[in-house]
Symmetry: C2
DNA sequence: TGTTAGCACTCTCCTCTAATGAGTGCTAAC
DNA sequence: GTTAGCACTCATTAGAGGAGAGTGCTAACA
């Protein structure tokens, strides 16, 4: 059996109506709401075919039909057509993107908030990967007797500071020397790349300040590498999920929100199998908590390099056209903002 | 009518049983579970009295009784007796508190996590108030052409850094001069305290660097004062609320979680009417979302000065004895940790 | 051969009713 | 003052019946 034009029209009608109403769609409804020029009986026949093809299913005998995952997939891939963004939404995004921002975190959280607001769904934003940042420059500043402020400028421009305990017997010159050696030897390397030999050199050059070096290395370790693993994902509008009829069930809500508290599953959800825009529908997600959910995600870039991703999570019964348009435009806007504003924090 | 010993025993039994089962308590149940040496009929008579006194109420005619807010209040104030902490919990808290921590934020989030874990309720932790911190010292470090890193050491020891745009024509000496003037004039003042005259002085002394000063002041404003308003409250174990039978209702959950997203109401909930430990029961909370909730909160100190608060939020039907013991011990442990470890970030 | 009207059938959802059971208040006896 | 007994109340549950939506099938029609 083949899909013909009428089947496509009917499938599209079913998906659209189900997205709008969350109720199983009957042949009569389609005949009434969509002007297909055929009777409900004909539509019924076609629906039987569509069911056989696996695009729709019945919750129970003699209920209307709802789209299957495959049905949504076919809809997204073949039926949806060009996604248009409403002028209103477009304007809102553009207005936001012209705001001046200096911290990368602000950009990310703003993006997250905006996404969930525009879609009335839950947004996921993965900020620029800090992990790969390398050592740039080190400064020491006076703080208190026995302690100094160690300021680390990473190669990606992020500045961090930590208090380091030093002995009482270190002079400003000693510290300057330590900084000089570090700056010279380590520029451009992350700590994990620092060879033993390099450390050895530093140690031997600065044998007097061994205590300080140990402390400094510990701090550096945390700054340069520690953050790699648990890059947080910004969640927005989680409560929107509670408005979805598919989450009327409290146990479902509980297990969903539990997953929200973890990072790894969300990252898996967000990170695309390929560059650009991805649509993951229902069971295509591996996690059972998301079996009834779809994710629209997309990566964004700086200098042609992919550095993060944004996504929207909602029930499979979501307005794919609208959400895809929003996510798409948002990543483009984000890429633009990052290229223009150059806030600190991305590589 | 007066409370006598038997009435007290019965009220205590009702509260304890209701806390344990979440079911209205009948006279028969009390006679069976608690050995009061009287028959259900007698207990019924006493319960009628307790109801008249306002300590218990009936959800509907011929259901068992549940404690009213006043009943819980009487229980907490007069019936509960000394709260003992289980050795197990004590050990857990002590083990946590010996861990080395260097950032105040870690302490706060650890505390929050621990509280919600031990109580299976929701924890609220208000970190040390940063607001009152004053200007301590300013440093400039080279960053990129046209930009410098402004490092601000606040009087409470917190170090923050920001990138500031400067013109191309500023030398290191110029910057040093700016820093010197700021350090000299502003030490110990928060920006809101800076008199116009003082600013005038700075301006006239540094007329050449006006552009830099404007930028610096803007940053300082954010650092010194901006954080005062929206000191975040750390929430832990919000999902625990979903396990409480009183939150079976999805609408209730929705409105509760909505409040969780705001800061102001939570702060109101947490900030005590008096120093030390506070118990706020049911309707004593002003917000309608918390009408069925109680809050056990307590302040913690450093150097004898109250600087923050922790609290536990749960249904009015909570195990007051246990929770009070935990919160009490926790604040003491926290006070101790802060006094000993002196992590940065408190005043 | 494709389309349509008609019709019996299925299954959910809602409502109504009756039975159950927990718990009370009252009364009278101890 | 305490208790046993009893009638009464009311939430909860299960079951029955009806309404309604929607289907699949059949037969007639173009």
């Amino acid at each position: 059996m083949q899909m013909d034009e009428r089947k496509r029209k009917i499938l599209r009608a079913i998906v659209q109506d189900y997205i709008a109403t969350a109720e199983p769609v009957g042949s009569r409804t389609i005949a009434r709401k969509f002007d297909l020029g055929v009777s409900p009986a004909t539509i019924r026949n076609e629906m039987a075919d569509l069911e056989e093809l696996g695009f729709i299913e019945q919750p129970y005998t003699s209920a209307g039909r709802i789209p299957s995952d495959a049905g949504y997939r076919y809809f997204v891939d073949c039926l949806m057509g060009a996604q248009t963004l409403s002028d209103e939404d477009k304007e809102i995004i553009e207005r936001e993107s012209t705001k001046k921002i200096c911290e990368i975190q602000e950009v990310v959280s703003q993006t997250s908030r905006l996404l969930s607001e525009l879609t009335s769904l839950t947004s996921l934003v993965l900020g620029p990967q800090k992990g790969k940042s390398a050592f740039g420059k080190m400064h020491f500043l006076p703080y208190q007797p026995g302690q100094v402020i160690m300021v680390i400028v990473k190669e990606n421009g992020v500045v961090e500071n930590h208090i380091v305990d030093v002995g009482d017997n270190l002079t400003a010159e000693d510290l300057q020397k330590v900084a000089d050696v570090f700056n010279q030897k380590m520029k451009g390397y992350s700590l994990s790349q620092v060879k033993r030999s390099m450390l050895h050199e530093i140690y031997s050059e600065l044998s007097r300040q061994r205590h300080l070096i140990d402390n400094a290395l510990e701090m550096l370790d945390a700054i340069l590498d520690g953050s790699e693993e648990d890059e947080p994902i910004y969640l927005g509008g989680t409560l929107n999920m509670l408005n979805q009829p598919e989450f009327r069930d409290l146990d479902k809500v509980k297990s969903l929100f539990k997953v929200f508290e973890e990072n790894e599953p969300l990252k898996k959800l967000l990170l695309p199998r390929q560059e650009g825009l991805n649509v993951t529908i229902g069971g295509e997600n591996t996690l059972k908590e998301f079996r009834d959910c779809s994710v629209i995600s997309a990566t964004y870039k700086v200098n042609g390099k992919t550095i993060g991703a944004v996504g929207v999570l909602g029930p499979t019964r979501m307005d794919y056209g609208k959400v895809i348009a929003i996510v798409d435009f948002m990543t483009k806007s984000l890429t633009e903002v990052l290229a223009r504003g150059k806030p600190r924090g991305y590589k």
